[in-house]
Amino acid sequence: MLGGWGVPQFEINPYRRGLLISAPPLSKIPKHIREFGFVPDFRSCLPGDLVLFRSSTFSLSSHFISSAQNQFANEHARWTHAAVFLYDDLVVEAVPWKGVRTRSLYKDIPRRIMRVRRDKALSSIKRHRIALRAQSMMGSRYSLKAALSIGWDSSRGILDGFGSPQIGRVIICSRVFHDAYAEIKNSPLEGCVLTDPITPAHLSATAGLEDIKIGWIRVPA
């Protein structure tokens, strides 16, 4: 079992927000978030940060992904998606069909729980380069074909019998961050090997990244 309980994880949990922070109001808030009433203060994020995701409710695909990462402790295996923070509320991520794309984190609220991680030893320039490198992968990598291929390989390899296209999906989303990170830092993350599949659980468990605490803001309706 890799990783384990001990280091607290700072989650962005829509239903366990903790003390709200006072911060200047955000300008562009979608209607569904105004109806929810709260939004994470993504201004604490920096370009190149890793964003991990898990569902706030049970879903079969999340269950399969968590099960396939069962060589890790549950606190790491439960993370099922990864993206790279760009700016404002935008991330770059890899998904089947569309490959690498950008989208708003606001779409995840309140459906998903998030976690932001950062290599604090990296300079600001290198963090920006990671974000730019990840964005430069847009449209060129990680098609459905690649996901299916990785899923098939993984089902015969390190992952267990739950190997499926879902597994391909989580490997390719994690690769966007790790490929960009390793290329810019000129060193892989601790506990990650470039030639092995990297999953969100690897990115959760690595000691090379630290959690960043993101507060919640009340949003007027």
């Binding site: 380069r129 490198r133 430069s136 992968m137 060129s140 990598r141 490929d179 390793a182 290329e183 810019i184 000129n186 060193s187 892989p188 090997v193 470039l194 030639t195």
Partner: protein, 89 residues
């Protein structure tokens, strides 16, 4: 810090269409069993490598010379051959 030149043999492990690849070494160089070749940054290989990467495919055997300045940094490939055909520089 001193830079060491190391001969290596290896296999192309992964090639992405945007000019990113991973080469797996037969024997580790320092603490690394593999390194990155990339046409988009000059951090690992000479910048003008797009044509080289486009000719590589996973599974191809390669050899060459890499430089390394620390145990943990990824080695930088400065010469790359496929079956005695020189690709880099």
């Amino acid at each position: 810090m001193a830079t060491n030149r190391v001969q290596f043999d290896g296999t192309v492990d992964r090639i992405e269409t945007d000019g990113f690849g991973v080469i797996r070494f037969d024997k580790p160089i320092g603490a690394n069993t593999c390194t990155i070749i990339s046409s988009s940054t000059g951090s690992v290989t000479p910048a003008d490598t797009a044509f080289v990467i486009s000719t590589l495919r996973p599974g191809i055997r390669v050899h060459g010379i890499a430089t390394t300045s620390s145990q943990h940094d990824l080695p930088k490939i400065v010469e790359l051959y496929v079956s005695n055909k020189k690709l880099i520089p």
